[in-house]
Symmetry: C2
Subunit: 195 residues, 2 copies
């Protein structure tokens, strides 16, 4: 029981930290701000978490590992490359809607990781991008996708979903479903009706 | 002659300022850094430009007005909405390739404009987005485009080209032509070959 309680306090701290980092930037957030936000005294907060560095590290690697494990699942399916790409786009949208603040931290504040962790993080990201690109390449080779430049396609897709993190709020009159459908239509079928 | 010389010095100052703002951020760049970069003494630089604020204002409004005047030209053509959209996407890519640092400043540092200018800048940008959205809407109504959510489409398109500013360098093995072709293929026809 006590262990469970601790875990949940820790999760609250991580969640609020992600929100503060997103709002004020990693550099602009102090442990004192965080303690205030979660309604704890700083010393008791340190029972759950060692430092601001540690928080950043946990958030960045949690998000990176989440993307990687879901990519592994998608890669290993028997689906067409088209369906794999759809699943990847949905994954990015879902992560941004459900865990927006943490994704934002992993996208923007990773550069403040300590050097060894920074290197590790960059390697994970690079590996993810390579495996994403491989799905595009295989889809082109299989004749499922147009014969596009792979790295341009990869960055175009990743950027096309990226604004969701910065802009999308469910109360702005666009449902998560409409969002997903439109983005998938554009990236898979294009805006234009004629081929 | 003397006037022409002055104008060209001013252009050099604006160009180097845009590069410095992009590199170090608006807040992280001093007029002293800029003077050093353009190889002038600060007092003589002030013969050409009044302040850092003025530089930011000139860059932001130059870029915003450029986009708007080219949008006006595209709107007034007799082309299909598909061709208008292609022209708009090409415009964004071209601006980022040819004037990347200034576009980056207008995209990221506009928030440091003084209040009255900030308001004006936001209005121009909002007007641009509305008119861009209108082309999408008209294209849907005319049966040229899929029946997509307009604001999601607008942000997806604007973001899909945005990474070019952050990543694209002509020496990275992708030509400007390949870049343009792939982005237009994805946004207009989609990656997938089957409808």
């Amino acid at each position: 029981m006590s262990k469970k309680f601790k875990k949940s306090k820790r999760d609250v701290i991580l969640e609020e930290a992600a929100k503060l980092f997103k709002e004020r930037g990693y550099g602009g957030t102090s442990m004192r701000d965080l303690a205030e936000k979660v309604g704890m005294e700083a010393p008791s907060m340190y029972n759950h978490i060692r430092s601001k560095d540690e928080i950043l590290e946990i958030i960045c690697f949690h998000i990176a590992n989440s993307y990687v494990s879901q990519l592994t699942r998608i890669e290993s399916s028997e689906d067409s490359f088209t369906d794999k790409l759809k699943a990847l786009i949905k994954l990015h949208i879902k992560m941004m809607i459900e865990d927006g603040a943490a994704v934002s931290v992993a996208n923007n504040d990773w550069k403040f990781l300590p050097e060894d962790k920074l290197k590790e993080f960059k390697e994970i990201r690079r590996g993810y991008e390579k495996r994403f690109a491989a799905i595009l390449e295989q889809g082109v080779a299989a004749g499922e996708f147009h014969n596009v430049n792979i790295s341009v396609s990869l960055f175009t897709i990743l950027s096309a979903v990226r604004w969701v993190e910065l802009w999308y709020r469910p109360n702005r009159g666009v449902s998560a479903k409409a969002l997903e459908e439109t983005i998938i239509t554009i990236l898979l079928n294009g805006l234009s009706k004629q081929e």
